[in-house]
Amino acid sequence: MPWHFERVAGPFRGATMGLAWDGSGMLFCAVDEERILRFDPETGTIEEFRKYTQRTSGIAWGPDNILFGSQEAGRRIIAFMPDGSARQTAYKLNGCFHNQPVDLIVDRSCRIWFCDPHSARRPPGVFVFPPLPHASVLRLERASHRQWNLQQGTYDTVAPRALLLSADETVLYVADGEVGQSVSRELRAYPIASDGSMGCFSVLHSFGTDYRGEHRGIEGMCLDSGGNIVACAGWQKSGPGPLIYVFAQSGAVLETHALPIDLPNRCAFGDANLTSLYVTSMDGCLYRTTHIRRRGHAANFVSVLPRAI
């Protein structure tokens, strides 16, 4: 049965990106507007959740109603606190500033995994700190109440774009590769050891190239209740076009659904019982499809204070 997508918000200036369900509303990032907005499915209204977000493009709930964000401009993972303040986490890997993070996920141990690719958009200000010589998945671990340690997760990625943990958190799915930045665009599965170290990856899916150009890979992923990977990828320029893919844990493609929009960015389940799928895109809108006969996997953390702060 085809999935019908409706536009529920937007367009906003620039792309919409990161999504996070807060229990009764969907938070999404209007990156160029430097805002996180909240869509209330009950009323259909949009309210501002947080402004001055410094190009936050990925968001994920952590414990204690803390919303973590990947700030591309600030070159950091920021903690949007319930009291309205914003606290930065560790930003140095082995003494060097990391790159410009774009997506993140928080595991049940409160470790934050994030993609740290290079960006063509230089951070603002005097350029004092060069980027890392690699583009990896990094991991933040709490050292104390206010301190974080930063660890390198992958050593073989070239442009990580999106992350997802398996339901039992023993596998990290990584969408690696970006058009113009890498030879391939792949969905990889990395086993995670109990200490957080990552083993050798398996390629679950690979995106190709045709006479029209490189196929755009995965930009956003979420997990359904069966442990399948729901991903948004593609563009109209080449390949099969913008699609929602449903991958089994093995990488088998279970379903694809055409998107009526070009350049999808992120996807996440929301609404009551997580039965709707939301998608953001480069056109600056928020889209939703309902009655899709799939449910989302419950996140580790959601807010219990789902109001603007």
């Binding site: 401009a73 914003a86 951070p123 603002p124 005097v126």
Partner: protein
């Protein structure tokens, strides 16, 4: 040091080949230089290093405060107290003569201020500073709370008694360098964002300012940008800019450039005759000499 002579009158201000002495190096973001007329020494900050340094010619340098909350611009008030634009500390504070630190401003109309950048003290004792949110963003100098609460970028004024805090300018973005003309009838303020321009404002008797007028906009053909500014006794404005230090006459006409081979952030007049120009850059502080003295700091 090489110079660019744009107007022949520039040679009345600087020698054809002025000296450029490195007086401090190994810092990670030099800023906030100010000369202490009492001790005949230079204070400057290392923003990322979160230190205030003191350099005494012929002696050397020492750290006088650490950490500073990544302090930025500094000046002296009329009582000779080092007065600081707190940048990542999101405050205005000063060091008393006994060494204690006193916080002067942290909030405006109930909201935490952004990140004070540069600072001057008027003869009335009022403190003026620039405040933009950019310090919430720059790596290595981010405050404990990186959330912006005040929408407007601004120039603020705190009366001498500390009771009257007003925002005197808020019609532009990324206010950075700030300087009075010698008679304090004019206030120069620049914008360090992409626009990169300097405007001039008439200063009223009550400390407020009139509408801004365009004063100078550098051509951006080389690295560097408008940041710190200082004025000499004839009213010539010295500003950091692409390629070094730009020297502009009171009519807004570029006279010439001091071609400092580093990214300049700010400068200060110094020496007994106020004809030494100390230039802060990202990683070092330099000194040169000019012919016309700068406006003395209290």
């Amino acid at each position: 040091m090489d110079i660019d002579i744009i107007d022949p009158s520039f040679t009345r201000l600087v020698e054809p080949r002025p000296p450029l002495d490195c007086v401090a190096q190994g810092i990670s973001f030099g800023e906030g230089p100010v000369w202490d007329r009492r001790e005949q020494c230079l204070y400057f900050v290392d923003i990322i290093g979160s230190r205030i340094w003191k350099y005494k010619p012929g002696i050397g340098r020492e750290v006088v405060l650490e950490p500073t909350g990544h302090a930025n611009g500094m000046t002296f008030d009329r009582e000779g107290r080092l007065t600081v634009a707190g940048w990542s500390g999101r405050s205005i504070w000063r060091i008393e003569r006994d060494g204690s630190v006193v916080t002067l401003v942290t909030h405006y109309q109930g909201k935490k201020i952004n990140t004070p950048n540069d600072i001057v003290v008027h003869s009335s004792g009022a403190i003026y500073w620039t405040d933009s949110p950019n310090g919430l963003l720059f790596g290595g100098m981010v405050p404990d709370d990186a959330q912006q609460y005040i929408d407007e970028h601004g120039v603020y004024r705190l009366s001498r008694d500390g009771k009257d805090l007003t925002r005197v300018i808020d019609d532009d973005v990324y206010f950075n360098g700030i300087a009075f003309s010698p008679d304090e009838s004019l206030l120069y303020v620049n914008n360090s964002m992409d626009v990169q321009h300097i405007r001039v404002f008439d200063v009223h008797g009550d400390g407020t300012v009139g509408p801004g007028r365009p004063f100078y906009k550098p051509k951006r053909s080389e690295p560097g940008g408008v940041d710190g500014m200082k004025v000499d006794v004839e009213g010539n404005l010295y500003t950091t800019g692409p390629g070094g230090i730009h020297v502009i006459d009171p009519n807004g006409r570029l006279l010439g450039r001091l071609k400092v081979p580093a990214h300049c952030t700010n400068m200060a007049w110094g020496g007994e005759d106020w004809r030494s120009l100390y230039i802060a850059t990202i990683h070092a502080v330099y000194r040169t000499r000019v012919k016309i003295p700068g406006v003395a700091v209290w």
